[in-house]
Symmetry: C2
Subunit: 210 residues, 2 copies
């Protein structure tokens, strides 16, 4: 185990490792070598061994890796066992889509509450999660320490909402608004999901060819 600073390239591959190992486990595969895993993930065996060595020694010479145990190690590295909690800000279509379809528990999260300003949605329950008025947020975060705030509000509301979350002590923000939140100063981590950037990348790739 030689920690130091793990590069962002490695970190972004960890969830993919976890996903592929989950699939292997579900398929009943017990052991996997770096070369076999590499083949199915389109990575070199070398890279996989190099990546894993950032966190420890999980394999065995001549054998490879035990699928279940490697999956468990990576889950721990990802913090999936920490009982993280989340609240969602903005219960529009996207917010509701996440609440109804996204399996927070499969990522080790508990979605504990939702907040909105619309009277027509406040007070309702969506997938067992209660929708509160936004004005309750400050008090809520004071009483319920929360790991992550999910921003599914309109772009214009992104910055003030982010500030409320930071003031309330969240550690991270999952940002679905189409704006770059630059919060490096606050110590809060931001993960952006930019649909438009993703579609434009695809647009470039399909336009390139012709």
């Amino acid at each position: 185990m030689k920690k130091e600073k793990v590069s962002s390239a490695v970190i972004r591959r960890l969830p993919r490792y976890y996903r592929h190992l989950t699939d292997l486990a579900k398929a009943g595969v017990v052991r996997v070598s770096s070369s076999a895993l590499g083949e199915s993930m389109n990575l070199t065996a070398s890279q996989i061994r190099q990546d894993l060595s950032c966190f420890g020694e999980f394999g065995q010479q001549g054998y490879g890796y035990n699928v279940e145990s490697l999956k468990g190690e990576i889950a721990a590295i990802l913090g999936m066992d920490r009982g993280h909690t989340a609240v969602i800000l903005g219960v529009g279509n996207l917010g509701r889509a996440l609440m109804e379809n996204f399996h927070f528990d499969r990522s080790g999260f508990h979605l504990a509450a939702a907040f909105d300003i619309s009277p027509s949605i406040i007070g309702r329950q969506i997938s067992d999660v209660q929708v509160y008025p936004l004005s309750d947020l400050e008090q809520y975060l004071k009483e319920n320490p929360t790991s992550v705030g999910i921003l599914t509000v309109p772009r214009a509301a992104a910055i003030p909402m982010a500030e409320k979350l930071i003031a309330g002590g969240v550690k991270g923000i999952w940002n679905f608004t189409n704006s770059d939140l630059n919060l490096s100063a606050s110590g809060v981590v931001v993960e952006n999901v930019h649909f438009a950037d993703s579609l434009l990348t695809l647009s470039y790739l399909i336009s390139e060819e012709s």
Copy 2:
């Protein structure tokens, strides 16, 4: 203009350039230097000039870049002016959220049709887009050449649906299912939006600190 092969790192920054230039234009800024743009985007001036030089010479010594014209150049590089079309497969919560809230036109796309198997949604119109039965897809694609298929179906349906899209001649797939589509053989480009990967990355980053 020295084309060659543009690296994926550069390509993924292009939509961000576009987004920031759009903001600058909206704010009435007429010109911007690589160092000013770099400051606001957290990139070095050098990197910006290096990136842009993959596609041409858009600046002027002593002046910098004209915001409007650079924005236009990048839009063209991204293929935003190609009249790309899209169809969406799966009109569940996420599909509907995209249809109702995502501005396809702002990325240069026209969302032309939606397909689902649920009788309760077939025949309806959502944001002016007609929902057809999935069984019509093959015929539709034959009659309406389509740039991109959007996969918002359940994970289990991902691969067969992708195959239908490829058979129908789409150039790219925007994949929201939680599976890695490995279609390198087909010549069709896949852009994945993996919510779980994104949240797990955030989980790692907030877990790391303590």
